[in-house]
């Protein structure tokens, strides 16, 4: 009888562990960074409890990822696209329809952030622009966006909220597109939103699907 109870407990544990890992994503971890993928299984796997639990377990894992720190310090240097680069390699002259985006495979923790795009305010090059923050990959979504003229101070700030599953399954990407004859992206970065910004942030707005490139 004792052995039978032992068997029931053990087999329940085996079944529980099996179900949990069956629906959890593929976790690919280094010491400082982790990424998760569902390559060729139905999308609803990502809506299951094991997926959420796995994402929560690893949520703070990327908090001190060296790559993210490097990207944050010089984000515009890691943006790539057809636009002409300045001498430093970190400024981008955006002609009509030209887009720069990046950085590659950026993983950050879930939370509320503010992305900042700085455009040079030279009178000859101040066309309207579209800037976006999005998650790339199979579950990619646009997190925040702005289209219009560059403000007088040349600075566009985009608050965005990176949800748990978006942070787990996607990589964050910043994108700038020229909508006029010329706009020069001089700098870009992101920071965590302040408490005031969090309080003012609009309540949940439905994310849009990221347009395919």
């Amino acid at each position: 009888m004792k052995r039978r109870i032992h068997a029931v407990a053990l087999n329940a544990a085996l079944a529980g562990v099996a179900v949990f890992y069956m629906f959890s994503p593929t976790v690919y971890a280094y010491f400082s960074e982790v990424s998760m993928v569902y390559s060729h299984v139905p999308e609803w796997f990502a809506a299951t409890a094991p997926a959420h639990l796995t994402a929560r377990i690893f949520d703070r894992y990327n908090a001190n990822a060296p790559r993210a720190v490097r990207f944050r310090q010089t984000l515009s240097c890691f943006l790539v696209g057809p636009a002409r680069r300045g001498p430093s390699g970190c400024t981008h002259a955006l002609g009509y329809g030209e887009t720069v985006s990046g950085p590659p495979m950026l993983k950050i923790t879930s939370g509320q952030y503010v992305a900042r795009f700085e455009f040079s305010s030279s009178a000859s090059c101040v066309g309207p622009v579209r800037v976006e923050v999005l998650t790339a990959g199979r579950f990619g979504r646009v997190l925040a966006g702005y289209s219009g003229p560059v403000p007088p101070d040349g600075r566009v700030e985009l608050p965005f909220r990176l949800r748990l599953m978006a942070a787990a399954l996607g990589t964050v990407e910043f994108r700038a597109t020229g909508l006029g004859q010329c706009a020069e992206l001089a700098r870009a970065d992101w920071r965590e939103a302040s408490d005031v910004e969090r309080a003012w942030a609009s309540p949940v707005t439905p994310d849009r699907r990221a347009p395919s490139r």
């Binding site: 890992y21 069956m22 280094y30 982790v34 299984v41 377990i57 894992y61 001190n64």
Partner: protein, 356 residues
């Protein structure tokens, strides 16, 4: 009378065994789902060198696979070869699922206790659902799947007491990748313990246990820096990749890798290591529990054997003092726990005690 009892018993056993075997076959689907979950659309960045570096300019470590495919690369470009590499990768993943299935089926055949048989069946499901298959599938282009396929092939020979053939098969592993020795470690530990306990076939068991270690040492000693530089220069790789290959892989020594891991990875990210280890090793822990439940009563020197099983399960993780691909190596412990589970129930490796 005895015959009558035996035949009744066989009639009762037969359907039950068929159900468990049918379940085992069904659970291979979980392994296939795991493969699908991790399989990337293309080869992983940084995996190309396994296929383009060969022994053409002299003996180098990790040059075996490249030497095998070199005749193909003389006809086709590397990009044209990619679909073939991807197909071979998928085939190897599926073979690993099949090999695990065969080993569990073998274990089921030798087991008459109903609870143990159910537990073995569920253990197979647990292994197939663990991060082992997704992680292996994810690393398309890496040679891990071939290393593990070799280990499972040799282990299948070990449980059939074909130690010399197993030793010959393991001889290939270190030439594919030196990490073979870490994946083989659980089998070697069980073989050493088996030699100590049974005192039977000691020479053959030691040969099978030690062959990869001896050959790994030979690969490291015989590796030519000059040959690898020439091979990298001639390879169809970007200049950036060539530089990274030399500095990050081939110029690395055991002391420098160890120093890097201790100074950067373990010191700075110990918390992350703990999180990942807890997450990845859970199935291994449950498989050890299953081993103790199914075979623990029959183990010789029960407590020591339990420690040997735990040690065998954790043994592949010793690679983490030299290399930083954390999840890739943590997943190996699930495989090691499975090897320890099957081996600890083998009547030839660890004969049951009389009391059991």
């Amino acid at each position: 009378m005895w015959f009558a009892e035996a035949s009744v018993s066989q009639v009762r056993e037969a359907p039950r065994i068929r159900v468990e075997q049918a379940l085992l076959a069904l659970f291979t689907i979980a392994g296939t789902v795991g493969i699908l979950k991790g399989l990337p659309p293309d080869l992983i960045d940084g995996s190309e060198y396994y296929w383009v570096l060969s022994y053409r300019h002299g003996f180098i470590k990790r040059g075996f696979v490249g030497t095998l495919v070199r005749p193909l690369l003389e006809r086709w470009s590397f990009d044209q070869l990619k679909p073939l590499i991807m197909t071979a990768h998928i085939a190897a993943c599926l073979w690993i699922v099949y090999a695990c299935y065969r080993l569990f089926r073998w274990a089921l055949h030798g087991e008459r206790d109903v609870e143990a048989r159910i537990t073995l069946t569920m253990s197979f499901l647990c292994l197939m659902c663990s991060q082992l298959m997704p992680t292996l599938a994810h690393d398309a282009g890496y040679v891990d799947v071939y290393v593990i396929a070799l280990v499972l092939g040799a282990f299948s020979l070990i449980v059939k007491e074909r130690y010399v053939e197993a030793a010959l098969l393991t001889a290939v592993g270190p030439f594919v990748h030196e990490s073979f020795i870490f994946v083989w470690a659980p089998v070697a530990i069980i073989l050493l313990w088996s030699s100590a306990v049974t005192k039977a076939g000691v020479g053959k068991k030691l040969l099978a246990a030690a062959m990869p270690a001896v050959l790994t040492a030979a690969v490291i000693v015989l590796h030519s820096d000059r040959a690898v530089r020439l091979s990298i220069e001639a390879a169809p790789l970007s200049e950036d990749t060539k530089g990274l290959l030399i500095t990050h892989i081939f110029e690395q020594t055991i002391p420098s890798a160890f120093h890097h891991m201790m100074v950067y990875d373990f010191r700075d990210d110990l918390g992350n290591f703990a999180i990942a280890a807890a997450y990845f090793l859970l199935p291994a822990a449950v498989l050890i529990w299953a081993a103790a439940f199914c075979y623990g009563r029959a183990w010789p020197a029960r407590r020591t054997t339990f420690l040997v099983v735990v040690l065998a399960t954790l043994s592949p993780l010793t690679i983490l003092v030299l290399a930083w691909d954390l999840s890739r190596f943590l997943a190996w412990s699930n495989l090691a726990a499975f090897v320890a589970l099957i081996a600890s129930g083998s009547r030839t490796l660890l004969p049951p005690t009389r009391r059991a």
